[in-house]
Symmetry: C2
Subunit: 408 residues, 2 copies
Amino acid sequence: MNVAIMSIGDELMNGFTIDTNSSWIAKRILEYQSLDVVSKITVKDDPVDIKNNLDGLIKNKVDYIFITGGLGPTHDDITKKVLSDYFNVDLVLNSSYYSRLKLFFKDKNIKKSSNLKSQAQILENSVPIPNRYGTALGMKIKHKESIIFVLPGVPKEVKGMFEEGISSLYLSPNFKKEKKYITLLTTGIYESKLFDMLKDIIKQNIDDFSVSFLPKYTGVNIRLSKKESSACLEDFKNNIIGKVGKYVYGFDNQNMENIIADKLFSNQLTIAVAESCTGGYISKKLTDISGSSLYFKGSIIAYGNSIKEYFLDVPNELLSSYGAVSSEVAVKMAESIRRKFKSDIGVSTTGISGPDGGSEDKPVGLIYIAVSMKNETIVKKYNLIPYRKEHRNVASHTALNMVRLLIK
Amino acid sequence: MNVAIMSIGDELMNGFTIDTNSSWIAKRILEYQSLDVVSKITVKDDPVDIKNNLDGLIKNKVDYIFITGGLGPTHDDITKKVLSDYFNVDLVLNSSYYSRLKLFFKDKNIKKSSNLKSQAQILENSVPIPNRYGTALGMKIKHKESIIFVLPGVPKEVKGMFEEGISSLYLSPNFKKEKKYITLLTTGIYESKLFDMLKDIIKQNIDDFSVSFLPKYTGVNIRLSKKESSACLEDFKNNIIGKVGKYVYGFDNQNMENIIADKLFSNQLTIAVAESCTGGYISKKLTDISGSSLYFKGSIIAYGNSIKEYFLDVPNELLSSYGAVSSEVAVKMAESIRRKFKSDIGVSTTGISGPDGGSEDKPVGLIYIAVSMKNETIVKKYNLIPYRKEHRNVASHTALNMVRLLIK
């Protein structure tokens, strides 16, 4: 069955807002055996454009059409009005939902806005899709051979409404797919190098599997997809791991933070961080995970040399003879934070994220990362991408990967 | 003149990757007087789909077509091959670019991959668009009434190649627009409330200006667009500010971090942070800005109570009688970090980001934020969105906004 996703909004067309909803929905649809996303389009807040595009999808007999955006309370939110015109059906108030909305605003002590009522209106004969994450009520419309889901544009609302009001109710659990995709997360190796290592195996299995390489600055994801075939995806995955396993740190929806969290938790280890150039990014990543207080003790962000000296006990002589960006200082930082915060692991970074501060000896991109554990402290020097934003992200990712490899 | 953006990639269609390129290009195109984005489509790595969609755009006489994606070194990168078929033109090696690539890999001591050559190939008679940020060479193709720019899919490469190899060369500077858009960044107020305050003024000016509300968890952006009219956008902006100015913290491409950076720098003030629930997020935001070492001293991330006690001098009695999440502890944290790190401003957060740790008295979402300056310490209690990821982001944003208001 075919699925189309139509994202409505001037702000999407002119680029003021990045459309994450269509990707999220598409990725979720992948999990259903018999559903296939065939169209993803962006449409302006324009009645004619919206009607024409919707009409095209309905004429093409697309089974499920997801419409997001334009359900808000302001004058530029026109989706419901346009659908009411297109289907020639009135908008009616869903009174139970409206009561809940009023109650919510009363509880929060917010003066009710005059256009709150519009948020609880849907097309007559449509089925409401409740919204626990915002104010706009969604709806399901059946028309000719298509089922149309109409959702707001706020990502959190789309996700919540899809999970609670669409997937289990309408996209029958029978659709659940056998696993046809596996993604291997790699880091520390170039895409072209990976491809070189894998091209023979890819060629040998070309009838059964397709392999895609998705490069990001923090690493390359390798996605394995099974074609219409009886071959075993798990076997193919193990084959691939046989070749490039040392670069693989996780699978599918995992990320470095979650993997580190699991490792620290299951090994009952605690961690503390001394950050210079990463400026809090490692700590932020570690605490993104709920329950991180079980293993994360805290950090000292030592941006200036005086903080390194007085709060991380880095001797002034070390700073003046080797410079703040040096393996000696990184080691001292990691050992000090571990000792001071009484953690099992201490991690430190000191480097030059740029754009300024580089020299011939110590160019932008240079970083020293140290990890201190009970019996050893390891320090590594990297020349990472010399752009500030990416440098800080890759540096934090690399530091966590060093921790991962050491716990292993 | 019309512009279309075609993003190629299975990973975009199935949602594994979010398409940020089309938004970025669209936003950049907005700056040109006579260019208008009329189409944004996502296409699979499928020769027929790519050809059909391109053919449609060329038949519709779209003036500029931007194609991104599928230029990489691996077997699933088929864009060049498909274009070569479609235009019936051979791929040829651009030898000067190939020499540069080889040199780059030699410099980096990376074993040259066997398929590097393909990265330097473009269509015969096309004009090369160099890529300083990655390996794939781009190209400009003239066909019938359309000019087609072909770029890789990596966002950093798209941006660099657009700025260095397309905008000034081909999208003549004459196109530069008079300013037709202003975005006001607001925080601390609901969208529906803002709309209530502005609906009369919007109605009165409906012939000259359109107004869009773009809600995010950290605030609502209000975008003012001038229609075909001789009215003054600046006057209209000032009118709007007259109504809702106290919620406006910036304009257009500014963000809270940049605004704080400017304020701290121009007032020659330094800052230090004591973070509990935000776990490094505030420090990360502050150091996202290059040159932040001029005003950012450092932070202590005090996740556990013992760190609050021993490194931020929060008395144990305070922690046990009021709890770690309390205004008393927030004040002490802000004052201690300011004194210890010898900064002009100390900021602190202590709260419950969830999903666990909430109680009836202190629910998930609760946070105390304190800002300490020379003559005063201010502390505020907020009940923010009770979802971990958003809570941490909104909390960090709110803390920086408190700093902004105090410096002002």
